[in-house]
């Protein structure tokens, strides 16, 4: 690892046009000679998310990768952070792919021919959805992603029908059914479970997969197929305690597994980070993640020569 300390002195704030909106980003430049690849960090989709992410993990990652010779762009989706616009709701089935494509296009315009995307959960789904429209994309890291679109049905799918029946027959539940509002809540939960069950049987018949295989978003299937056909390197990375990883494992028994098998060594799956990676909710998982990401990205883009910036891969600065 380079001993250089990359900081704000290496960083440039930028505005990126994205349709009617302007996105805000920060480009971190290496202080060793640069590789010809750039890394884009696509953040998660929670209402209070920003491009620096929890405990500044994106800032720390960007500066570590820059110390290894990468240019790194972290940016705010529209409606978030310093970007313009308004985002109604973060939807897994309609992620911010135009924003990521705009960020990638901006990097291509600066001369970066090779791109790697590191997407956190919603950001990973954004990366998959945007991949087809990103020229020069070589690799995507998918951080603790869910492969489902309907999180309510997914949660329902994790519990057996007998768990629902047992819960429904409890005296407290039967008493709650007398209350209209509580009845609505229970009916909604029941609908999610029925939808999940019917989905399982449909998919088992349609795709010749075991009945107990988790539902996977058709869009994810299509996007992953495209990514594999294109030869992209993919990293699926989870924590030991991520429920999304158990769902991912279940989904691998079906079509998802067949697609990933075709990709061979270009797909790497890790679920060995301590605790839950989703949301970066402990310092231990953050440290493990930074180490894992630095190692993976350097393998994708190649090691810099560690010579001072300017000697290889020259940077021509705009006035």
């Amino acid at each position: 690892m380079s001993g250089s300390r990359v900081g704000a002195a290496n960083e440039i704030p930028v505005f990126i046009p994205a349709g009617d909106e302007t996105l805000f980003g920060i480009l971190t430049r290496p202080d060793v000679s640069a590789t010809d690849a750039a890394v884009v960090l696509a953040h998660g989709g929670s209402p209070s998310m920003t491009s620096f992410q929890r405990n500044r993990i994106a800032v720390r990652l960007a500066r570590r990768l820059a110390a290894r010779g990468c240019h790194v762009l972290r940016f705010d989706y529209h409606g978030v952070g310093e970007s313009t616009g308004w985002i109604e709701r973060f939807r897994l089935d309609d992620p911010c792919s135009p924003d990521l494509q705009a960020a990638a296009r901006w990097l291509r315009d600066q001369g970066f021919a090779r791109l790697v995307v590191v997407g956190s959960c919603f950001g990973g789904r954004t990366a998959l959805a945007a991949a087809r429209g990103i020229e020069g994309l070589e690799a995507i890291a998918l951080i603790a992603i869910t492969v489902c679109d309907d999180l309510d049905a997914q949660r329902a799918d994790r519990h057996s029908i007998w768990a629902y029946v047992r819960r429904g027959l409890r005296p407290t539940t039967l008493r709650d059914l007398l209350d209209r509002q509580r009845r609505r809540i229970y009916m909604r939960a029941a609908r999610h479970k029925v939808r999940a069950l019917l989905g399982r049987f449909y998919r088992a018949a349609r795709y010749r997969q075991p009945v107990d295989t988790l539902m996977v978003s058709p869009a994810v299937i299509q996007q992953l197929t495209g990514a594999v056909d294109r030869g992209l390197a993919l990293l699926f990375i989870y924590g030991e305690d991520d429920t999304f990883y158990r769902d991912f494992q279940s989904a691998q028994r079906g079509r998802l597994g067949r697609i990933l098998a075709r990709a061979g060594p270009r797909v790497e799956i890790r679920a060995d980070l301590p605790g839950m990676l989703h949301g970066y909710r402990t310092l231990a998982v953050q440290d493990a993640f930074l180490d894992a990401m630095e190692s993976w990205v350097v393998r994708q883009v190649g090691e810099s020569s560690a010579e001072p910036a300017g000697s290889v891969g020259s940077v021509r600065s705009l006035a």
Binding site: V14, I26, S48, T50, R56, R89, G313, A319
Partner: protein
């Protein structure tokens, strides 16, 4: 050999369509520290200046977009606005272990000095949220009769830390994990120099430099105009805020209180994926008060 044409300019600027306000993003040099800075500048005549002092850790993320929205609203009304991130926070340089109250205060004073020097703004007000309210109060006390807006201010830092540690305990309970008590976390902080609170590091320098501070002490004794904003579903002002208002009024301060109906779980994420209410009521009330106060067009 590849050639990259990355921009080298240290300031990114844009003009927002519609409002015509200008935004400048840069890294400010404050002493030997580089701080992330955003300035929102009116299209025409500058009627005054506002410096926004953010909260920290999870609360910084929670409040972020509200501060952006407020700054844009103020700039649209003719008030130049300075936002920035403390050393060790957000996009700024530094690490979590380097955040302490004296540093936050120095950052704020430095950012304010730079703001006034570059824009020529003389009449200032400060907006501070949570711990940022302590910083805003301490800064204003040093700079003369600046008005203050305090969003959900911390009254006592020792209680604030207990509240923060309880957030971890609540998370541990819901996760079915045997968590540490507040006393256990304090002992760990003393032993290890830092504790992990929901993925944010609370380090000893921050704790030690902040824990004995109170809002009343940071406000000092020179009267000024204050807007105190409570974010809560309660329709009554909390006892602590009401008592503070009474004491300050007795000391010659002019304190108005605004109750905004929104319960904020500062350290937890919302369960739905809708964006936080930009809370138009909060933004509007704050901007209206600052407009009146900075221009002297109403009771202040």
């Amino acid at each position: 050999m590849s050639t990259f044409t990355v921009p080298s300019t240290a300031i990114a600027t844009r003009k927002l369509p519609g409002s015509g306000i200008h935004e400048q993003v840069s890294f400010l040099d404050v002493g030997d520290r580089k701080l992330f800075s955003v300035r929102h500048l009116p299209r025409a005549e500058v009627r005054g200046g506002v410096v926004i002092c953010s909260p920290i850790k999870a609360e910084l993320m929670k409040n972020y977009r509200r501060e952006v929205t407020l700054a844009r609203e103020l700039a649209a009304r003719g008030f130049a606005t300075q936002r920035f991130q403390y050393y060790g926070a957000g996009h700024s340089d530094g690490t979590s272990a380097e955040i302490d109250f004296p540093g936050m205060l120095a950052d704020t004073l430095g950012a304010t000095e730079s703001f006034q020097s570059d824009t020529g703004v003389r009449q200032l007000a400060f907006v501070g949220t949570r711990v940022g309210a302590l910083v805003a109060a301490a800064t204003a006390r040093r700079l003369g009769p600046a008005a203050l807006v305090l969003w959900e201010p911390i009254l006592r830092a020792d209680r604030y830390f207990r509240e923060v540690f309880r957030a971890r305990l609540m998370r541990d309970l819901t996760a079915g994990v045997r968590g540490e008590s507040t006393e256990g976390l304090l002992a760990r902080l003393d032993r290890d120099g830092a504790v992990d609170i929901l993925g944010f590091s609370i380090d000893e320098p921050l704790y030690e430099s902040l824990r004995e501070r109170t809002l009343e002490a940071e406000l000092g004794s020179d009267p000024r105009a204050i807007l105190l904003v409570q974010l809560s579903r309660r329709r009554q002002l909390r006892g602590g805020y009401a008592n503070l208002q009474a004491r300050l009024t007795e000391s010659g301060f002019t304190v108005e209180c605004e109750l905004v109906e929104r319960e904020e779980a500062w350290w937890f994420e919302e369960t739905d994926q809708s964006p936080p209410a930009a809370t138009p009521e909060l933004i509007g009330a704050t901007a209206d008060w600052l407009d009146r106060t900075l221009t002297g067009s109403g009771a202040a």
